[in-house]
Structures are given as C-alpha cells and as structure tokens.
C-alpha cells in the first residue's frame, strides 16, 4: 500500500506541483512555439507524454545496469541524449507504419521532441532522485501529463489573446511569457496539496 501512496505522490507532484514547464522551465521552446492553437497543443502534448514515458522506461535500465556497473556514470549525458534521439526516431518510424493518420497529426512535432529539454531533464531528475523502475515510469508519465496540461491551458489563453488589445511592444513572445508568469503563480496554489 505504501508504494501505491508513493506513486500517487510522485504523480501529483510531477504533474501539478512541480510542473516541469512552469516551475523548472523545461520544455519552454515547444511551450512557446506550439501553443498558438489548442489542437496542435493537444497533439504535441500527447506525443511528448508518449516519448517521456518511453524515455523513463529506457534510460533507467541503461543507467542502472550498464553505466553504474561499469563505473562510467559520467557518460550519462551522452548516452541519454543518444537514447532519446534513437527512441524518437523509432517512435516516428513505428507510427508512420502503423497509423498514417496519427503520423500526419504528430509528424512534424516528433523530431522536435529530441531537443525538448524536458525529456532530457526528466532522465536527469530521475537519476538525481534515485527512483526505482516503477517510480521512474510513473514520473515520466506524470511529467508528460503536466506538460500537456500546461501547453493546452496556454493555447486556450493565447486563442483568447488574439482578440485582446495588447500594447504594441508587448505583442507576441513578451505577452506569452507574462501570461506564463501568471499561470506559474496560479500553479503555486497546488503546493498546498501535499503536506503531512
């Protein structure tokens, strides 16, 4: 039972309280780039969640069964980034074969995920926090959910912003960042969720 409690705790903390985008600033590039339409944002979020879960599942055994036994944990950055790049490539090939419709929807976003710092950040945090295998997978999935949540909310706000009268110099990126600041403030409210 205790493990289930820990897993739920990890999930809530990664998806809401320590949302990767809004508190760790990871994955800002796609967050700013793809959040102008809700439909795109949902697709990007789904693709990223998928890759994140797989990344957690693939990097954990490599780190713990290959890098640590051979005493080369300093190679973790190089190996993680190669794993992520290979994984994204494989996922892209698989989706193209199995479901062309999904591929058309996600196609352009998949390569972008390789340079999404949230994915590498996830692998690094996983190592730093000493999660076990199951916890890592939950952590990866929750991070993806958090990313999707943030990007979809942002896209909703930005669709409204198109009709707002924003001062000229604040238009575009600047306004998006300030709105993200507000969103980050709002997300701080979740910090009270886990206590005791």
């Amino acid at each position: 039972m205790e493990t289930l409690g820990t897993l739920i705790l990890i999930f809530i903390s990664a998806a809401l309280i320590n949302n990767f985008v809004l508190t760790y600033f990871l994955g800002i590039c796609p967050f700013l780039g793809v959040s102008n339409k809700t439909e795109n944002a949902v697709n990007m979020g789904l693709a990223t969640t998928f890759v994140m879960t797989l990344t957690a599942a693939a990097t954990w055994p490599i780190y713990n069964y290959v890098l640590v036994p051979f005493h080369v944990p300093f190679l973790q950055y190089v190996s993680f980034i190669i794993i992520i790049a290979a994984l994204v490539q494989l996922v892209e090939m698989y989706i193209r074969k199995s479901s062309p419709a999904l591929y058309r929807a996600l196609g352009i976003y998949l390569p972008l995920i390789t340079t999404n710092c949230a994915v590498l950040g996830l692998a690094l945090f996983m190592v730093l926090r000493d999660y076990n295998y199951l916890q890592s997978i939950v952590f990866g999935f929750a991070t993806g959910v958090g990313f999707t949540l943030a990007i979809v909310m942002m896209s909703g706000i930005r669709e409204e912003l198109e009709f707002a009268d924003v001062p000229r110099h604040f238009q575009g990126v600047s306004m998006t960042l300030i709105v993200s600041g507000m969103l980050a403030l709002a997300f701080m409210g979740f910090a009270g969720l886990i206590r005791g």
């Binding site: 809004l22 590039c29 300093f74 190089v78 994915v119 604040f170 600047s174 600041g181």
Partner: protein, 209 residues
C-alpha cells in the same frame, strides 16, 4: 558571408541577434538559473565555453560529416563538451555547480548551441565561427546577468550578495519564484522590442533627411 568580416560576426550577437530576447533561443536556462547575478554569470560562462568549442569543432569537421547524420553528431559533440564543463565545475567550483544542478547538463539541449552549429558553423571556416560563438555567447552571458541583476535586486535587495537597498525595502518574493522569471523575461523582451523599434524609426528619419 566572407565580405562582412569578423567584426560583424562578433557584433551581431550583442544586439541584432541577441539570443534570448531576439531569437528566443536558450530560454530554459535564461529563466531557470537567473535568480542571482552569480548564477546567471556562471551559466553564461559555461554556455559560452560549450558554444565556442562546439562551433570550432563543427566548423573543422564540416567537410567530413555526412549531412544525414549531422544533427546527431553535433549533439554528441555538444554532449561531450558539456560533460567536460560539468566535471570541471564540480571539481573547482562545487557551490556553483550545486546551485546550477541539472541545468548545467541541460546545456546539451540548449537550442541556441545546436542552432549556431546548424545555421553558422557548418557553413563557415573556423575564424568566423569563433567570432560568431564569442558574440552570441557574450550576448547570452550579458542577458543572463541582466536578468539575474533585476531579479536579485528586487527579490533580495542585494547585488552579488551585497546589500544595496536599505532596511526599508520589502523584498518582492515573487521575483525569486519561477513566476518572477517569466515576468522579468517578458518585460525585457518588450523593452528590447521598444528600443529596436525606436532605433528603426530614427534610422528611417535620418534616411529621409
């Protein structure tokens, strides 16, 4: 490219292509580690070193790397340089290395570095690539330091841990929090937009006269 000279390649990074505010690249570290001036400068220096190394190596290898695998090979080059930087920092500046935490390894996926390799170094000889890296890197360093300065003064009332504002000053806690980073960054982007549109207007005026 060759006609513009090294000075131009260096200078463009300082304003025209100022990385975080103009190109909106490398935003993750710009937001994450700028809660104090020291952290901003340390991050800026680390990035400058990696950028310089990556530009030099990519430029030297530009005739040997097949174009299908170029992105993958650039990433590996960058990852190696970052590993070196990370180990150097951990050995000689442990407190800073601790403060930067996982953001130091995350330089690997700083899109600015990959962007320079792809957009500049792979098409240009070594010297212009060095000038380009220095310009962009120093522009990045100054931007981070500026953000760190604003956030540290407003959030703690200090600069480099020295008290500059008196006891009357009530620190704005929000500036140290993640939300403050977004707000300062958004404000600075607007400021850069404002200054450059003023400049453009002035240039247009002088051209007319």
């Amino acid at each position: 490219m060759a006609g513009k000279g090294l000075g131009y390649e260096f200078k463009k990074g300082l304003w025209q292509e100022l990385p975080p505010f103009r190109l909106v690249l490398g935003t993750c570290p710009a937001l994450a580690v700028t809660n104090s001036v020291v952290n901003g400068i340390a991050m800026g220096l680390a990035t400058l070193f990696v950028l310089l190394g990556a530009n030099i190596m990519v430029s030297l290898l530009r005739r040997f790397v097949a174009s299908q695998v170029r992105i993958a090979s650039y990433i590996v080059i960058i990852a190696l340089l970052v590993t070196v930087t990370d180990m150097f920092m951990a050995a000689f500046f442990p407190p800073i290395s601790k403060a930067l935490g996982p953001y130091l390894p995350l330089i690997i996926v700083n899109c600015m570095i990959l962007g320079r390799a792809e957009a500049f170094a792979q098409k240009n000889p070594v010297l212009p690539s060095i000038a380009d890296a220095l310009g962009i890197g120093i522009g990045f360093l100054l931007s981070l330091a500026a953000m760190g300065l604003i956030r540290e003064v407003l959030g703690f009332g200090t600069i480099l841990h020295f008290r500059v504002l008196g006891d009357w000053f009530e620190p704005w806690i929000v500036m140290i929090l993640p939300a403050g980073a977004f707000l300062v960054f958004g404000g600075l982007v607007a400021l850069v937009n404002y200054i450059s549109s003023r400049k453009a207007a002035k240039a247009a005026e002088t051209a007319r006269v």
